[in-house]
Amino acid sequence: MRFILRAILLLVLLALVLSLPSFATSYYLGLVVKIMIYALFALSLQLLVGCTGLVSLGHSAFFGIAAYFVTLLSPESGAGNMLWLLPGAILAAMAYAAVTGALALRTKGIYFIMVTLAFAQMAYYVFHDTALGGGTDGIYLYFRPEIRLGDWVVLNIDDQFVFYVFTLACLLLTWLFLALLMRSRFGAALTGIRVNEQRMRAAGFSTFKYKLIAYVIGCGLAGVAGFLYAVKDGYVNPELLAWEQSGLVLLMVILGGMGRLWGAVLGAVALTLLQEVFQSHALFGEFASRWHLTFGLAIIALVAALPQGLAGLPDQWRNRRRPKSISSASAQ
């Protein structure tokens, strides 16, 4: 019964999202694309945070590396070929993840958070201070890459509607992939590691290997989001790798709820809309210029009121009747 309800809900949402281009203006369409890209970004982090219990404050590095990869390697005079640019961007992100993950995963808890931050800052400074990526002014991506087999252009994403559907497809495929991954034996192992790593090790699992693979996959998927972001506006900048970006996507995951995979999507939608709303002059008049204040207060209120995030809201309501249990042990 619940399955059918869920399926119907999903189909309705899908229909809504697909029909949006017919009545939304160009600006709002672009906004929805941005939300989808951030949803993908948040989903990739959810694999680390919500599924494996690895809190990373350096996720923006992989987003940025992929974005710079596609921008730097796209030709200036014509469209590049997505058939190798997209996998290449993902592999670049994964390569950095493999190296830094192997080192970072030797630490735990707050130290892990800080080491991931450190590695992200290193990548940030490479793009910020060296001539590699055009420095702080950023660089342009002149032509959106297309899927080309020899001379045959299979898919060109210049059109806004085509790009919209393309991004949606990427988001849905990633979501499906992660859902299936978590249902597999590998996913079960990750869940076990998140709940109690000691026990998993005692049961004979090589937890380091599992964590590293999850880390690499998650960072590779962040690369997909970075690729899409670079292609969308055609402009990349070192600030994409800044810790504020890492903080923002972490906020999305936590706000949306770490308990469910789709919490990440919900968090991305909620946070982006919140930012739009607070900046809207129509709603707040002159006070809209002070939106950092309202946004900051909203974050505090939301995190305080929703310890399990938005996705945990139904559970929270259900538990209201029952007596409060002692706060559960936090995975450190």
Partner: protein, 292 residues
């Protein structure tokens, strides 16, 4: 390198490190004793600096005092602010998970920055160095070293000594150290843990504000100054080991030297040096230099 130049660069490194220690010590205290990750710590540094700027004319007018009195007033106000903030906001964070603390204090940064913008505006301001400290010491034939920077180092050393004395020789220090080791035990011993935490938090805020106030004449007062300090502070705290004042001191010195000499010898990689240091240390000592 010329020995006089080397000496000056060492002085630069030490002074930078000492100032970092002042800010980081507050952070590590709060983190170590109370278990709260406070991202808004950089904002307290900024508040201290802006207070020094805003209060200086008022102190001169109503209290007839100069720079030192202004700094003292800032410290007192910051302590009161810290006490109030702990009661109003931070006390609710103890039972929360680290992640929620991170995010709520992140929201707090936004609130502080915007409030600062509303109250004081967005301009860059200078705070004049007091005239009795405005001289320079001659070192070598071209270069002089500002006396004020020596003053900063002196203040930091005095505060560090004071902290050491309080922690090892007073009852309060004993309670703090006990609270850091075992919070529940302290409570069952009848010591009012809430009041203790409030005091510790107020001290932490006061330390950061003091650093901001005395650094204001050399760093100038500008929006976003808290964020830059925050990240480096976290690096210092993590390298030193969370909750360890000794570790924070050593780590601050390390960071000071790496940053200073990194800028001189590897200007292109200067930004990365500190993070390389942190990564390197954590790979050998995953919980920092001095495990708490």
């Amino acid at each position: 390198m010329d020995p006089a130049i080397l000496l000056i660069q060492c002085l630069n490194a030490v002074q930078y490190g000492l100032l970092l220690f002042l800010v980081a010590s507050g952070l590590t205290l709060i983190f170590g004793i109370m278990g709260i990750i406070n991202l808004a710590h950089g904002s307290f540094y900024m508040i201290g600096a802006y207070m020094a700027f805003a209060l200086q004319p008022l102190v001169a007018q109503y209290l007839g005092g100069g720079f030192v009195l202004t700094v003292l007033v800032c410290v007192v106000l910051a302590t009161v602010l810290g006490y109030f903030l702990e009661w109003a906001f931070y006390s609710y964070l103890y039972t929360r998970e680290h992640l929620q603390q991170v995010l709520m204090t992140y929201g707090l940064i936004l609130v502080f920055e915007e409030l600062r913008s509303i109250i004081v505006g967005n301009d860059v301001h200078g705070v004049p160095v007091p005239s009795w400290l405005a001289g320079s010491v001659r070192l070598g034939d071209v270069m002089t070293y500002p006396v004020y920077r020596l003053f900063i180092s002196l203040v930091c050393i005095l505060v560090a000594a004071l902290m050491f004395w309080v922690l090892t020789r007073t009852r309060l220090g004993m309670m703090i150290r006990a609270g850091a080791s075992n919070r529940e035990m302290i409570n069952s011993l009848g010591i009012d843990i809430n009041r203790l935490f409030r005091i510790v938090f107020a001290i932490g805020v006061a330390l950061a504000a003091l650093a901001g106030a005395i650094a204001a004449p050399v760093s100038s007062v500008y929006p976003g100054m808290g964020n830059a300090v925050l990240i480096i502070c976290f690096v210092v705290v993590v390298i030193g080991g969370i909750g360890s004042i000794k570790g924070a001191f050593l780590a601050a010195m390390l960071v000071g030297f790496v940053d200073t000499f990194g800028q001189v010898f590897f200007p292109a990689a200067a930004g990365v040096m500190v993070y390389l240091l942190m990564a390197a240390i954590l790979l050998f000592k995953p919980e920092g230099l001095f495990k708490h």
